[in-house]
Symmetry: C2
Subunit: 264 residues, 2 copies
DNA sequence: AACGGTGTTCGGCAATACAGAACGGACATT
DNA sequence: AATGTCCGTTCTGTATTGCCGAACACCGTT
């Protein structure tokens, strides 16, 4: 999947492929044969790797079958990584406050080379549960957090990201033309927050705003997500003010706590 | 760390040791030399493994240094594993409802061979943030969830678990004698819920109750955690009724949704 | 009862993951 | 400014070890 220029360990890569396969696999687990066939390896080699992963809790076995399922160590590592992340630690109480105040789902994303990577989420009380994945690069041009981050980049960086990710159309509102995107980013710079008006999913509306480290570099964005029908122009405007206010509070906290700059 | 009887893959085990080391390591990351020294391997071999883990997002590098930190894939995998876990999916709305109603921190644990393994948590609105890890076996005798689970085991199973885990004293209230524990478990069976009266940590009070799969087997427990000073006898009693009610609702949902039985 | 499908075990070969030394750069010290 | 020490990185050889394929054992079905 991932590619680097330098020496790496093949058996580890194969093992991690297995984890991803099973985590993304069927709800009720996968059998050894299915897994071996999926990765194109021998059953004996795959079995040894699976055993190692089970020993470490990355996978677990359910009988009868036996079938392999995601293990509880994954939950543990995710929880620990979240608890240790200074940005999440800073943002969490603010997100919870904002979610309680607005009744919306609030998320925080890192700026990962121009792409938004959501790392924490506080669900609103609504019945609608969005399946918003964490910890992975999202399309930058169809989310409010992504567009807010894009608006902080230079023109060269924007073009580079857009060329790489492509202006994929997710709904009929998605921005698919570079010129249109640039105009939108200009507007975002003016008002200070970005919107997502059903550009990623039908019926979903978001607003987002960026925050900055002590070098002044944009290191991420927060966003609020709700259903489109709830949104009048006046509400968008006041929600925009609110999201800017909380993004600024994140910035303030970062400056107060001297958060470390992100890696490249 | 973990041990099995069968063939396993050494380089994968070493790689996963690295992940645990770094996740449990210092806040600002570890350098290659530190890591190599900690695991007792050569720098070149450790470097190759680290590169692989970075490629897959399990670790990330921050400059300058370079230092290695937990990567965002860990958050992603934890989130996915949670989202896929049928027990978490069932329990989550109930936990949130109970947390909102009681103002307490609510957790759900699996019964993992007699040990409680907390897999999801809904923090209460209080200022006190408990560092309650997820995804790992906890001491059974010092938590309400653990004691509630123990109370569902046979005498042989109880003795086996207690012999293995040991009746370690965490506070002056911790139960350290087997006879006392059995008496307590008898009481729990009678009233239907378990308490933790500052047995794990000073000033912390919990109540917990179990739920069951469609074989009638106890597969876990939920618990509510608060500060001791808030707890009058009357409140403990009404909280006990409440936790039983919600645990029963979890059981009902499990039966309705035909959850799969746990391994073993 | 025999077959297709499992998961598991066992040798043998070759790939490959490891160790160690040598390089090059950054920083601190003198 | 020069030197020394630490770091990360690269390289090459060696032997470890992880892989394959076949054979075995086990259910369920036909």
């Amino acid at each position: 999947m991932a590619q680097s220029s330098a020496p790496s360990v093949g058996s580890v890569a194969r093992a991690l492929d297995l984890v991803e396969l099973i985590v993304g696999g069927p709800e009720n687990g996968m059998t050894l044969s299915e897994i071996a066939k999926a990765v194109g390896g021998s059953k004996s080699a795959v079995l040894a790797t699976l055993r190692t992963l089970v020993d470490f809790g990355y996978l677990r076995i359910v009988d009868p079958g036996p079938k392999y399922l995601p293990g509880m160590m994954l939950i543990r590592l995710g929880d620990l990584a979240s608890a240790r992340d200074p940005l999440i630690t800073i943002a969490r109480p603010l997100l919870e406050e904002l979610s309680a105040k607005s009744g919306l789902t609030i998320r925080v994303a890192r700026n990962d080379g121009g792409y938004p990577v959501f790392i924490y989420r506080v669900d609103g009380p609504g019945f609608v549960r969005f399946h918003t994945p964490l910890g992975i690069r999202e399309l930058p041009h169809v989310s409010s957090a992504g567009k807010a981050i894009l608006a902080e980049l230079t023109d060269e960086e924007i073009e580079s990201v857009v060329k790489e990710s492509g202006l994929i159309s997710r709904t009929k509102n998605s921005i698919t033309k570079v010129a249109e995107l640039k105009k939108e980013l200009e507007h975002i710079r003016k008002v200070g927050f970005a919107t997502d008006d059903e550009e990623d999913a039908q019926g979903i509306f978001c607003v987002g705003a960026t925050f900055f480290d002590h070098f002044g570099k944009c290191i991420g964005a927060i966003s609020a997500t709700g259903v489109k029908t709830d949104m009048t122009d006046a509400q968008v405007s006041s929600l925009g003010k609110l999201i800017i206010k909380y993004a600024d509070r994140v910035t303030d906290e970062i400056h107060g706590r001297k958060i470390s700059r992100r890696a490249r």
